[in-house]
């Protein structure tokens, strides 16, 4: 047992850290540090910088643009990119549909779609949740019927993150209404420009536009829009969701936010001295750091475990629960540091040259706190994760 990083791993960490420092455009970094929303172009620009280096789909098979790194290096990479305030990869392509396509898709689908994910020339979004199918995803009602040489997709998806930017959507739709609910579902790739696709924004509590409703009004898609076998979509969805939980601990993001908390706590003075001198605050900060350190080690344990048997580990539910709780705790700490000037509201969608009412770093603290309540809800709510642990780990 040796839990230290090896010389090679340390050198790799330094290499990634230096790469992010030297190549992340300053304008993007500034926005990320401040907690401001990134534009579509910011994601595309950064993904292309990574793609140039061969790092944009690091965990993929080498033949489709992956790096061949082992799990520890992948984890170090993710951690450094997140902590360096680089934009996150658009998970819908890189972590979700990409692996489904290279695992279950046809050769034509691989050649058509994988390169567009590598350089983000195709932006993907996820058509899973519906108004009546949230935690109980298998109760979804969107249908796809075969009609001549096409599929006809009808129904409604919701909570579709960044659908307003998307070129493509992967959709779970019911192809056999007679079958048991998990067994009549298929997995489709649908062009967002198809006639009959309508995107309607949902404004979230922070005031931002991140998620959408997506309507399918008899949308026609070619027969080869189907991935793998008809009525096997639930298996692919489970595979996808298990992948989604990899990296869901967001250790690097929480580290980055704690760096920011320390930085701001040293300069904010309310009353007698800087916030960081408040022993009660320091103790709360230290408590979150302890949880995060433990989570980092837990993540390493899960990674080195999955290295052995290749299957997703129900322990990833532990990562989801703890990682999401810690993310929320870091946004609470940031609110506390910012203090009174969390109050003024800035419309994130408005284009304005008005200076903020308070210090320019104060504005995003409250919206980020409000927005981050989502993390214990999405990706399988934390209650669903607890049920997974009870069943898969404890046998209850």
């Amino acid at each position: 047992m040796d839990l230290r990083l090896t010389e090679d791993e340390l050198a790799f960490r330094d290499e990634v850290r230096a790469f992010v420092r030297d190549n992340l455009p300053a304008s993007i970094r500034e926005k990320s540090v401040a907690g401001r929303r990134l534009a579509k172009d910011d994601y595309v620009r950064w993904t292309r910088i990574l793609a140039q280096k061969g790092w944009s789909v690091a965990h993929w098979p080498v033949e489709w643009g992956g790096t061949g790194w082992g799990p520890v290096k992948q984890s170090i990479f993710l951690d450094e990119v997140q902590r360096g305030y680089a934009p996150e990869a658009i998970a819908f392509g890189v972590n979700m549909v990409g692996p489904v396509i290279y695992t279950f898709g046809s050769q034509e689908q691989k050649q058509r779609f994988l390169p567009g994910i590598v350089d983000l020339s195709d932006w993907w979004c996820q058509g899973f949740s519906e108004p009546g199918a949230g935690s109980d995803l298998a109760s979804l009602r969107t249908t796809a019927k075969r009609d001549g040489d096409s599929w006809v997709v009808s129904g409604q998806k919701t909570w579709t993150t960044m659908a307003q930017y998307a070129d493509w959507i992967f959709v779970l739709a019911r192809t056999n209404p007679q079958a048991k609910k998990q067994e009549g579902i298929s997995f489709f790739l649908v062009d967002m420009k198809s006639p009959g696709v309508t995107v309607r924004p949902i404004q979230t509590i922070d005031g931002g536009h991140e998620v959408n409703e997506v309507f399918f009004d008899d949308v026609r898609a070619p027969l080869d829009a189907l991935v793998g076998e008809e009525n096997k979509g639930w298996d692919y969805a489970k595979f996808l969701l298990a992948n989604e939980r990899n990296g869901i601990a967001r250790v690097g993001i929480s580290k980055g936010r704690l760096d920011r908390v320390r930085e701001l706590a040293a300069i904010t003075v309310y009353g007698s001295g800087p916030k960081i001198d408040d022993p009660f605050f320091r103790a709360r900060l230290a408590s979150v750091e302890v949880e995060l350190k433990a989570l980092e080690m837990t993540q390493m344990r899960v990674i080195s475990n999955s290295r052995r048997d290749g299957k997703p580990d129900p322990a990833s539910s532990v990562l989801k629960i703890k990682g999401s709780e810690i993310q929320q705790a870091t946004t609470e700490l940031l609110m506390e540091v910012v203090g009174p000037y969390t109050l003024p509201y800035e419309d994130p969608e408005a284009l304005t040259n008005e200076p903020p009412a308070g210090p320019d770093w104060a504005g995003p603290a409250a919206p980020n706190y409000f927005n981050t309540r989502k993390v214990t809800i999405y990706g399988g709510s934390n209650e669903i994760q607890r049920s997974i642990i009870a069943k898969a780990i404890l046998g209850l």
Binding site: L258, S304, V318
Partner: protein, 381 residues
Amino acid sequence: MDFELNSEQQMLGDNVARLMKQRYDFEARKAYKATPAGFSEALWREYAGLGLLGAPFPEEDGGFGGGAVEAMIVMEAFGKALALEPYLETVVLCGGLIRHAANAERRAELIGRIAAGDLRLSFAHAEKQSGFDLNDVGLTARRDGAAFVLDGEKGLVLNGDSAGAFIVSARVAGERRDRDGIGLFLVDADAPGVTRRGYPTQDGRRAAEIGFAKVRVEPANVLGSPEGGLPVIERAVDETIAALSAEAVGAMSEALAMTVEYMKTRKQFGVAIGSFQALQHRASDMVVALEQARSMMFFATMSAAEDNAAERAKAISAAKVQIGRSAKFIGQQAVQMHGGIAMTFEYKVGHLFKRLTMIDAAFGDADLHVRRLGDRGSLFA
């Protein structure tokens, strides 16, 4: 980064687990506890025979070539069984003090005797006023030529009523709370001037209050620099906290396993109580708390060998915070979900809870360590 145990370590783990299974069911423990020493002297001999007592020491010091990982393996198994033998006190804590303070010759001799099962030691350090401040030492050591004479009292000396000898911390110079001026002295339990009063502890073990009246210590029994003992104490205590976190993880995993087993068999309203979602989710939270604690056990074990005292102290404090909080949650919830049966003295879960409670309190509880950590800056480099 590698979490695998090597083959010797796996064998050690298998051996201890087998021994605990054969000899340490909860009924057997009651019999060991009822003896005057409060643990099994016969088992202590068996531990020596199996190589457990010398496992965490380098070979040149009289041990079998292991370190903190070996101590972790043994302590986790002891934690599950609620083993009563003074492994932590003799092997980890006093062994650590000897290893870091004594000269090579003394090290080999004393650690050799520990490994053989011939010497059980207790650390006589805490005093009535000291709380958890390791630098707070009032018991005096007056120079008498090259020898020293000890005067004062020590308290909460774990297994102090059955130890063959003590390592005593004493003030050689300076004021009571000074960091400099503390020495470490090896004193036989039956040396003239030593008096002791043993008593049972909340967690089913024993401790003692010890008096030292003009106790003479010859130069050979002064361990290390007579005025530079504190860094040694801090280091040995850090190693002890790492081992204690393994004991806690063992006890927590046993409490969780018993709770889940009970949830599957106990029926109310015509069904197993484990079918209730409120209880399932609580049990899942116990899993999360246990895994976080286990991760920090590894972190503490890895950091125990860190030479940089400031970095080591941060890591150990972080582990103690997580262990303390997980232990409290798991201990309390194990009792709650068992219901009335856990409130009885005859059932094991209540005793796991009590031991976990005392582990949190030992060497500073979670709140104390979180404050220390807050004062020491970020955990992340």
